[in-house]
Amino acid sequence: MRFLGATIFFLLTWLPFGPPAPAAAEDYSSFTIPLLRYPGGNFNPRPEALRSLLAQVAARTSIEVNREPVVLEATDARLYCYPFLYMGGNEGFRPFSAEALAALRNYLSFGGFLFIDDNSGKAGSAFDTSVRKLIADLFPKNPLQKIPRDHSIYRSFYLINQPAGRVRVNAYLEGLSIKGRTVIVYSANDQGGAWSRDKLGNWNHGIIAGGYQVRQHSIRLGVNIVMYALTLDYKKDMVHLPIILERLRRYHSQ
């Protein structure tokens, strides 16, 4: 009886833990959005934004996502495991070191993608000034430009007329391309604020001058940006063009 009791005790105590599991490998194949940590300022004013966006990407598309938060600095050795980076902020920040600039330049030039989101909700914010200086330091001969309306970002999944956001600072996105691939997309409209919801599903921030529809458009833009990073100009392949152009015609005429 004592033996039986000992056996039951052993099973109860050992089985739930099981044999020692191998250390879990990091999930690089699933789509992950690391947050870029930078010197000074506030690099994470919308802590729920990325998890919320990835949940929407998972729910709406076939993309397999990894919602575990990952925070990286530009000089982090793991940077090249994640070809997509998110950089948010609502304050000015210190200039990147030469080493960080070189690392980020290399990352973007050879396959990486950076989405920059001004969460301040103000035109000409300190964050905006810092971002423009950062980009000028990264690519002095290749300035930010307005992303044209026929760019794949506006049709990579949803057909989008105008970029929305928590606020409407700019009616356009800005971007920077290298050899035909857009490697930086910059929104001044606080996309992270529009995406962000708590664990109970409540939206963390209200939409300025808009409601449900504007928030949906912001989420659609987030999905499209992710889809563009993963498929680039796939939607400009000839096989898609006739259908997309017809739908755009109808969409614009609405």
Partner: protein, 762 residues
């Protein structure tokens, strides 16, 4: 004159002429001012002499002043005395005798070669040339594609129509250079005008310029005629140097008929003994040229030799121009790739970039962007998604692709299971298939016991967890580093080093057991296949059991490397799967594509084992097929590097076909190469006399054109013979820039002043 020359300190024997020269630019404004002022000054001078009573003295003083002014004007015109030695040049006449092969063609009704007319004309008119030589330098040339000077005595013995090409443009350009420092006053051209560089009834701009540059009349004598000339010829074939396999190739052929009568003839295009196409041509009297357009479709790769032929009629002047061969290098069209992605991922993003940037690839991609379970929260009209055209792709259009890629793609519910059978048939008939890993591939895609499993180089085992995320080594299997897919560097050691330096993979599809005959090129650290290939029927199949090969690109960049080996790996993969000739284990080529008669031909080959290691010592049978159909077989043995070589000198002109064969068990490997041996018979492709060209040459140069016959008398041809003086020595002396000229002016003015003083004037 001699006194003057001696006075100047020169030898009178060295100079026989003299001349006063004036400044070329003239004295200019100062002289004009002087010419206007001098009369005025003389008038004032004359009035100032009023107090002198003696009119003679007045006139003398005026004369002195006039002489002083004249001397001053002369100085302004800067006169020079030129002493020189010169002689008169004898003008030249060039006599050009066309000695190209077309002059050997018989002319009718006498049935004597055109060249005989030239010989007869030269003999008959020998006195004329002798007379001409008394007043001119008469230079004789044999001309074809360049002028070769001969003496008059050599014409009878050396004139033979043997040269392979006629090029009047070059002949006249060379002639102009020869007479650059001489006085050429006329040209006599004896030719049939059959210049292959000139289009019918036209003269090229180059020839027009060359004729005009001669700057003297060219008298053309048409040698031979087209009367009663009977011939049917393939005059020109305009074929592309290369074409794409299975794609139509267009040919433009020009047939020329002379005195054939009204007949319907058949133009036949063959490859070897196979008739590809034939076209009926209605030959009618009065029409010489017949443009014919043909189209055919090459079915096999490599250098293919095609022949065009026309029937040969009795009495034709030339038989060889009824047949013409040409070669087209048939290359693969762009490799059409159908790329299906189960979901957007970094693996698919980086691979798609490589495929899009590969100029040899024509890519059609499809991404499954949403599944049935996804809620897009928008109406279809606000989505850019298009329906997946499964039926079209896997029934109607499947055979138009060369390679089908399933990348992390689960076929259900997008493709019906029965359509997977079509993919299998597609590969067995020569297509290619590649499966790239991920959790929707292999067992994850439910491919067990489907036609796709039959295609794969592995069988799919039942495993609970057939998809693993972990750090996976990718180790090339020893002996396969020479495989074209794994060739990232040419050098063996460098190649091995590169493979060792690639970052590890981060995912692996497991439960894959290699099939018999499959080759596992890369293993994980535990012997599981990471990259495996196999031949399936006439096609090829491959798999990569991971969706993280992009690590070899982006992560390698992060480690300080570059993505170039990733790109090379995938380009190698596409090349091997599409059966690129460079990936064949038996290869055959020649050192040149075309040879002249008498050249040695070198046929080279390479034999490799199935693992792409050299098949040293392997027996190779080389079969050579000559243009006449003769077949020679040679037994060769591969060298230490798998190389074979065979050299020979072809005896016939035309296109040869070489085929190498290696027997391996029941299978016979083969490779083919073709090459052409050309004789110099181009002149017979356009054998007709071209009177229009001769007339144009004569007209441009200001000469005459006439038909040459045995009775032609050239004595009516005259040339200008002006005196042309040529300086051989000269020396110039200034008549103004010296003490004597200025002393003369000063002396005249002094004498005048002295007389004025004597006459009581100031």
């Amino acid at each position: 004159m001699n006194i003057l020359i001696k006075w100047l300190g020169l030898n009178p024997d060295e100079y026989n002429q003299w001349e006063i020269r004036w400044a070329a630019a003239g004295p200019g404004l100062e002289a004009a001012v002087l010419v206007l002022l001098v009369p005025l000054a003389l008038w004032f001078f004359w009035t100032s002499l009023a107090r002198i009573r003696s009119p003679w003295r007045k006139v003398f003083l005026l004369l002195l002043r006039v002489l002083a002014f004249s001397a001053l004007l002369l100085v302004l015109f800067r006169p020079e005395l030129e002493l020189r030695k010169g002689h008169y040049l004898k003008n030249s006449i060039a006599v050009l005798l066309d000695n190209s092969k077309s002059l050997s063609i018989k002319t009718f009704p006498d049935e004597q070669p055109r060249a005989s007319l030239v010989r007869q004309a030269m003999e008959k008119n020998q006195p004329y040339f002798e007379r001409l030589a008394k007043t001119f330098n008469v230079d004789f040339y044999f001309v074809s594609d360049r002028p070769v000077q001969v003496s008059s005595g050599e014409i009878a013995t050396h004139y033979q129509p043997r040269e392979p090409f006629t090029d009047f443009g070059r002949v006249f350009a060379d002639l102009r250079k020869k007479y650059e420092d001489q006085s050429l006053k006329g040209v006599m051209l004896f030719s049939d005008g059959a210049d292959l560089n000139q289009a019918p009834d036209e003269i090229s701009e180059e020839l027009r310029r060359a004729v005009a540059s001669i700057d003297s009349p060219i008298h053309a004598f048409q040698t031979g005629s087209n009367d009663l000339f009977k011939d049917l010829a393939i005059e020109a074939v305009d074929a592309p140097d290369f074409g794409f396999v299975q794609q139509p190739v267009n040919l433009s052929v020009t047939v020329n008929a002379s005195s054939i009568g009204n007949k319907n003839v058949s133009l036949v295009l063959k490859e070897g003994d196979n008739v590809l196409i034939s076209k009926m041509i209605e030959i009618r009297e009065g029409t010489a040229r017949y443009p014919v357009d043909l189209q055919f479709t090459p079915r096999a790769l490599g250098k293919r030799v095609y022949s065009l032929s026309l029937p040969l009629f009795a009495g034709e002047s030339i038989a060889s121009n009824n047949r013409r061969e040409f070669q087209v290098k048939v290359i693969p069209d762009r490799i059409r790739v159908l790329h299906l992605n189960g979901r957007p991922s970094w693996d698919s993003r980086f691979l798609r970039e490589v495929l899009v940037n590969n100029p040899k690839v024509d890519l059609l991609s499809f991404f499954i962007l949403r599944t049935l379970g996804d809620d897009v929260a928008a109406p279809t009209t606000e989505l850019s998604l298009i329906p997946f055209p499964s039926n079209l792709l896997f029934t109607d259009y499947l055979n138009s692709f060369d390679l089908v890629i399933f990348q992390n793609f689960k076929y259900s519910p997008f493709i019906e299971k029965k359509h997977l059978e079509n993919v299998k048939a597609f590969v067995e008939n020569g297509g290619a298939f590649l499966m790239i890993g991920g959790n929707l591939s292999f067992q994850g895609g439910e491919y067990e016991r489907t036609a796709i499993e039959d295609l794969l180089p592995v069988s799919l085992l039942r495993e609970k967890q057939a998809w693993r995320k972990d750090e996976i080594a990718s180790r090339p299997v020893k002996g396969f580093l020479n495989h074209p897919i794994l060739r990232l560097e040419k050098d063996d050691a460098a190649n091995e080093k590169i493979w060792r330096s690639l970052p590890p993979l981060s995912t692996l599809n497991t439960g894959l057991r290699p099939e018999t005959g499959a080759q596992v090129l890369v293993e994980d650290g535990k012997g599981g296949p990471v990259l495996a290939v196999a031949k399936k029927g006439r096609g090829r199949a491959a798999l990569i059991a991971s969706d993280s090969s992009w690590n070899w690109n982006f992560r390698r960049v992060g480690e300080g490397g570059s993505g170039r080996y990733y790109q090379r790996f995938w380009n190698n993969m596409v090349a091997w799967l599409s059966g690129d000739p460079a990936t064949q284990v038996l290869q055959l080529e020649t050192d040149r594509e075309q040879y002249h008669e008498g050249d040695e031909v070198l046929i080279k080959g390479r034999v490799l084992k199935e693992d792409y290691q050299p098949a040293a010592g392997e027996a190779v049978t080389l079969t050579l097929r000559s243009p006449a159909g003769g077949v020679d077989t040679h037994a060769l043995k591969a060298g230490p590097l798998g190389e074979v070589a065979f050299a020979f000198t072809p005896e016939e002109e035309g296109f040869y076909h070489a085929r190498a064969e290696v027997k391996r068990g029941k299978e016979t490997l083969s490779a083919e190469a073709g090459f052409g041996v050309f004789g110099d018979t181009a002149e017979f492709q356009k054998p007709l006399v071209n009177p229009a060209l001769l007339e144009k040459i004569a007209a441009i140069s200001g000469g005459t054109a006439s038909v040459l016959s045995a009775q032609t008398d050239l004595s009516g041809i005259h040339f200008e013979n002006p005196e042309v003086l040529v300086k051989t020595r000269s020396k110039a002396f200034s008549l103004w820039d010296n003490w004597a000229a200025y002393g003369l002016i000063a002396g005249l003015l002094f004498l005048e002043w002295w007389l004025r003083r004597k006459s009581g004037l100031s």
